[in-house]
């Protein structure tokens, strides 16, 4: 047992050096004998290294001036902010190197406010670092436990309060208070649960192509719907779809009139998010799937635009490679192979919409989507 084991907190500071308070960092090196000691001694806190301002009054005065200058910059910045706020018109623009053409008012207010705040901050830190005492000290922790008398007193006070409120003697108050507090939690839970809206029911598996609005509780019966251009809301003739074209399509009756903004389906965004379709025409000879050819019309094929990964719109069609790319996570679908996934995190092919032409030559749907569009969900099963 050596002396170090008996030290108590607070006495670990190294003994003051014989040179006074200033210690050179390269002093105090002990030449070892190569062997390991049985125990390492507690080195304690490092000796305090005096700063310039601690030893030299002129250095301290210099530091004082620097801090005052920083605070002065802050004062000037704040005053300049107030002037700029009134003086600079909101319409003025200036060219700032590295930023470009920008609003003069925004720029001036930002710079002056930065000076105002940073001046205070940097000044305070510089003050603390150069002039405030920087000697490390250890403070002993005092016992936290209150004395036995005061603990006893608290218990007695509580007991006395409980007895004088008569809650134990008057059970009606006790039970109604308990009931009131317990029931009060319900409205909090109820408004969260209630504001979640109706359960989706089967609406996740249906789209507007099923024949009409497909929200929760709605069960449209199928009727052929014309394929309409988004956003013009005009029907598409089969002859309009040339090879290499891509059309962004919504079902007939979903979009409001593009000029008047009236009509259209209620819950427009929900219906749009499920019904969006991409229409392309390929050379029939390069389509590798017989089902894809049968469900299309003369090489015109319609696929759901909603990615089967997490539901981003898959709109990036490359007309030479016939790849459909989802911009969110780079899932890539090959339109010549029935929109099979050839790259990326999506697991299922994009659902194809069966189409044909009506008596007037316009493209119409021949059946609703045969499976739920978009990403997986709990009731979907896979």
């Amino acid at each position: 047992m050596n002396e170090q084991d008996t030290t108590h907190p607070g006495s670990e500071v190294a003994p003051p050096s014989e040179h006074g308070t200033a210690v050179r960092l390269d002093q105090g090196h002990v030449v070892g004998d190569g062997g390991l000691p049985e125990r390492f001694t507690n080195p304690g806190l490092p000796a305090h290294v005096a700063r310039m301002a601690d030893l030299d009054e002129s250095a301290a005065r210099r530091a004082e001036k620097q801090v005052a200058t920083l605070f002065g910059i802050s004062i000037l910045g704040t005053l300049a902010f107030i002037v700029c706020y009134f003086a600079i018109s909101l319409e003025t623009t200036i060219f700032v190197p590295g930023i470009g053409e920008t609003s003069a008012s925004n720029f001036a207010l930002g710079v002056t406010m930065a000076l105002g705040l940073l001046g205070i901050g940097f000044g305070a830190v510089h003050w603390a670092k150069t002039l405030m005492p920087d000697e490390e000290v250890v403070e002993e922790r005092h016992p936290m436990r209150a004395s036995d008398e005061s603990r006893q007193q608290v218990v007695e006070t509580l007991k006395e309060g409980g007895a004088s409120s008569q809650i134990t003697r008057r059970p009606m108050i006790k039970y109604t208070l308990g009931g009131a507090l317990g029931l009060f939690a319900l409205p909090l839970v109820l408004q969260v649960a209630g504001s979640l809206g109706p359960m989706p029911q089967k609406s996740n598996s249906k789209t507007f192509w099923n024949g009409g609005p497909s929200g929760p509780g709605q069960d449209p019966t199928f009727k052929p719907l014309r394929l309409m251009r988004d956003p013009e809301n005009t029907p598409i003739k089969a002859e309009d779809v040339t090879i290499g074209s891509v059309f962004h399509v919504m079902p007939e009756g979903l979009l409001p009139d593009p000029v008047t903004g009236t009509g259209g389906t209620p819950n427009l965004l929900e219906e749009k998010a499920k019904a969006a379709v991409l229409l392309m025409r390929l050379d029939e000879n390069i389509i590798k799937s017989q089902k894809q050819r049968d469900w299309g019309y003369d090489g015109i094929v319609a696929y759901s635009k909603i990615c089967t990964h997490v539901g981003c719109p898959v709109g990036l069609y490359e007309q030479q490679t016939h790849h459909l790319l989802c911009p969110c996570h780079q899932s890539t679908f090959d339109v010549t192979q029935d929109a099979k996934v050839i790259f990326g995190p999506a697991k299922r092919a994009l659902p194809q919409l069966q189409i044909t032409v009506d008596g007037e030559g316009y493209l119409v749907s021949a059946a609703p989507f045969h499976e739920a569009v978009g990403p997986s969900f709990w009731e979907r099963g896979r």
Binding site: G100, T242, G244, V246
Partner: protein, 269 residues
Amino acid sequence: MNSLAARRRHPAAIAILLMLGLFLTGAVYAVVAPKDADATTQALPAQSIEEGRQLFLANCASCHGQNAEGRATGHGDRIAGPALAGVGAAAVDFQVGTGRMPLSGPMVQAPGGQPKFSQPQIDSMAAYIASLAPGPAVPSEEAVDPALGNAAKGGELFRVNCAMCHNAAGAGGALTRGKYAPAIRDISGRHIYQAMVTGPQSMPVFSDANLSPESKRDIISYLTTIDQQEKPGGMALGSLGPVTEGLFAWVFGLGILVACAVWLGSKSA
């Protein structure tokens, strides 16, 4: 030299050395890098089909064939250049007028750049290609005048038909396997119109049956509007959205915070 050697352990030395190295590498590359061959042939400004055919034979036939019938490379179904009958004058004016053709070498996608031919030469080649089979013509001045279009309607059409590849602000974006949708800022209305009508490279065709000529003019008007609009916030960071903005905040915002923390923790002299 002595003072330089003495400062080699200065904290800033490694940063200065790195900057110097990067700068030197860049400078050497700029000097040594191969230049584009200048294949310009100074031809008479006569706009004629025969003139265009001569230019075509001299500059394009090696890939597109002597009669613009297209050529195979002999490697599977890869082609050196597609057949050009029926692509129309608009395709020639777009591809050559934006510097995409003639292509300097085989690559995934022809990059835009300085046009290699004068406008009369391009017109001659366009006339020759248009004479092979009917195709989209170069649009009139009126068809591409942004002042006549409706920018608000054009913006709506752009966001549905174009923004998924070209970005809502026309800043461009990536496609599959090294291909990309180029940025379409500060592009002339004529070239925007021709790109829609001919569908260059990966881009689908937006024929007049898909987007009417008026709709195309609306889109041109929208793009012109965003080219000209002011940016009150200054640096737009490429209009690329959260990726560049987030990176900026992480690098500069956190960098400043880290520098402040280092300064706060350092001992004063």
